[in-house]
């Protein structure tokens, strides 16, 4: 065997090995989800008797009744996710613009305070937050979660957008300034459109967070008409007890939107995770 062909043999082997590895990781991640979705079509008894078989008949009955159950939670989740995404991204983008573009005294300190919010653990802040929101009369409302999700995600989102804005050339701002644009116009018409990729990433990351958040949702909401899907699903589980088919169906329904969003936007998701590294 010549050196060249032996090299290509090993290159092929490592390629094949890599594929095998990725494939098995993929199976490990996807299979439980698939199993859950299939479970939603089975009868409760089949789930116990033949946990790994395909459904005997494809019945949507479980999904229909599960939908009845999660509808209300779905609406709350949608509302809270959409509104907190808008507020978080908007506030973060403005903050990042201020931190990168405007002259201000003690800018490093301000930056440290804003980004330092990432260190704050939600669990530590729970008790004072409950008291605060109660006295504000926001406890057990959608607003409670919208405000909390915004407050706790602004530091991280600002961090991502700021890193991106630091890389946008200053000349653009200055050209716009010479063109007579004020800071608001520079932000809206120059910087914000150029930040589109990172804004998209931030939107995706925030949707993932807000849709799945459990701790705050459990503590700050009581009324089923206010509760979000993660909390709703737990209470469904405890209520329906052993009707696993129903529970699987409900879980599948609540996971579906996020899975779709993830697949549509995964390139932004990946960029969001790599942005801010190496700065």
């Amino acid at each position: 065997m010549t050196a060249a062909s032996s090299r290509s043999f090993w290159a092929g082997m490592s390629q094949a090995f890599l594929w095998a590895l990725l494939l098995s990781v993929g199976v490990v991640v996807v299979y439980p989800l698939l199993w859950m979705a299939l479970g939603g079509f089975k009868s409760n008894s089949q789930i116990f008797e033949q946990p790994f078989a395909l459904p005997l008949q494809w019945s949507f009955a479980n999904y229909l009744s599960a939908w009845q159950g999660v509808q209300g939670y779905m609406v709350s989740s949608l509302l809270i996710t959409v509104v907190s995404t808008v507020t978080t991204v908007f506030i973060s983008a403005w903050a990042a613009f201020g931190l990168t573009r405007t002259p201000m005294p003690a800018k490093p300190l301000v930056t440290a305070i804003v980004l330092g919010g990432m260190m704050l653990s939600p669990t530590v802040a729970l008790v004072p937050l409950v008291r605060m929101l109660q006295s504000l009369g926001l406890y057990d409302t959608h607003w409670a979660l919208i405000i909390l999700y915004t407050a706790f995600r602004v530091p991280f989102t600002t961090f991502l957008i700021r890193a991106y804005m630091l890389d946008l050339p200053r000349d653009l701002d200055e050209a716009a300034m010479m063109d007579g644009a004020n800071p608001g116009q520079i932000f809206r018409r120059i910087i914000l459109p150029l930040c589109r990729p990172i804004i998209m990433s931030c939107i995706v990351l925030h949707i993932l967070f807000a849709w799945n958040e459990y701790l705050f949702a459990m503590i700050f909401t009581n009324n089923p008409s206010v509760q979000t899907l993660p909390v709703g699903l737990t209470s469904m589980m405890s209520k329906q007890g052993t009707d696993f088919a129903q529970v699987f169906a409900a879980m599948t329904i609540s996971a579906l939107p996020i899975v779709i969003i993830f697949f549509l936007t995964q390139r932004y998701f990946i960029r969001g995770l790599t942005e801010g590294i190496g700065k």
Binding site: P169, D171, L172, E174, A175, M177, M178, G180, A181, L194
Partner: protein, 373 residues
């Protein structure tokens, strides 16, 4: 129409002063070039004029009105950036329209102005393109177009050609010269570190070094009568040869004893007090010519760069750190190792005192420099 007046302009960044008191008057309709080595403060001065940098002290006026605290967009100034700074998410049309839209112009007015500017700059076919789909030269023209449509009183250019390749640089330089001719009323200030651009474009050149003005004058003035050694060496390519020496005789008939081992008579009057002082003699490479009968000096050729029309001839002289360069006609038979005699017009000799300031010649006659016996 705009007249600029700068008085004792200073700029510090923290404790570091980068402009040390600039005084300069620029007439209406003038094309002024700031030239100087990298880091000498050209951009800083230009940006201070644009209003992108606050000046730390001093006064800057346009047509008599104090501009120190006027916003950049209110100064009637447009700037072409070195990086072009085109808005990447806007078409060529929108790039040019941006400033007009903000200023509140009507749609048809905007379109008319852009059509006219695009015509001048041959950008009409590209109005719907995005900057990323344009070549370097086209982007450059869009940047100029964006400045033109606002019809400013003053144009600022910060090294506009430095991102272009050599051929395009020459073509664009000519276009800028034409643009100036087409707008005789507009005052233009142009920054470059390239002395050829400065010489070809400027009505007046401002030579800067380390945040100070070294000399202001027309290209020919700077070339013929540099105020100091720095300007003498900065203007002209290859740069002026400098030979160290001492003043052997003062008075109307100055003699300089050079470290290179020969003595030159220079028709520049010197004061008796300077007798024996260190001086620098400057000779431009293009002012040297071969002379076999009665040369100023003889030297050995160490290297020849044949450029066709001329040959850059490098000569070894004792007591000189860098080789002496002579620009000699291309047809001469020159090769390394050969001995050659050279001379120069006496009027083309430059003399600088020990502080490197020029000692001014009297009215130049056309005597040939002679070796002093």
């Amino acid at each position: 129409m705009a007249e600029l007046r700068l008085r004792d302009i200073r700029k510090n960044y923290g404790t570091v002063e980068v402009l040390h008191g600039i005084d300069l008057d620029i007439r209406s309709g003038e094309f002024v070039v700031f030239v100087g080595p990298s880091g000498c403060g050209k951009s800083t001065l230009l940006r201070a004029i644009a209003g992108l940098e606050d000046i730390s002290s001093g006064e800057f006026r346009i047509d008599g009105a104090l501009m120190n605290d006027v916003a950049p967009s209110q100064r009637g100034i447009a700037m072409v950036f070195q990086s072009y700074a085109l808005y990447p998410h806007m078409t060529v049309f929108d790039n040019m329209a941006f400033g007009l839209k903000i200023a509140g112009f009507r749609k048809d007015q905007i379109a008319a102005r852009i059509r006219q500017a695009a015509e001048i700059l041959q950008l009409t076919p590209y109005l719907d393109r995005y900057p990323r789909a344009l070549s370097g030269g086209q982007r450059q023209r869009v940047a100029i177009g964006r400045a033109i449509v606002r019809d400013p009183k003053v144009f600022l250019f910060d090294e506009p050609l430095s991102n272009l390749d050599a051929a395009l640089r020459v073509a664009t330089r000519i276009e800028i010269a034409k643009l100036k001719q087409a707008m005789p009323g507009a005052t233009m200030i142009y920054v470059t570190h390239d002395q050829v651009e400065a010489m070809t474009l400027a009505d007046r050149i401002v030579v800067l070094r380390d945040g100070r003005i070294e000399q202001v004058g027309s290209p020919v003035e700077l070339y013929r009568r540099p105020a100091n050694l720095f300007v003498g060496q900065f203007i002209g390519s290859p740069s002026m040869n400098v030979l160290g020496g001492t003043l052997a005789r003062t008075g109307p008939d100055t003699r300089v004893e050079l470290d290179a081992g020969f003595t030159v008579a220079v028709p520049i009057p010197t004061e008796a007090a300077m007798q024996g002082q260190r001086v620098h003699l400057g000779i431009r490479p293009e002012d040297l010519r071969p002379c076999s009968t009665d040369p100023l000096f003889r030297a050995t050729i160490s290297l020849v760069e044949q450029l066709g029309e001329v040959q850059l001839t490098y000569l070894d002289l004792p007591g000189l750190a860098a080789p002496l360069i002579a620009k000699l006609p291309g047809h001469l038979d020159l090769h390394p190792g050969r001995d050659i005699g050279l001379t120069a017009e006496a009027a083309n000799l430059h003399l600088f005192d020990r502080h490197e300031n020029a000692i001014r010649p009297a009215e130049a006659g056309h005597k040939v420099a002679v070796p002093a016996e």
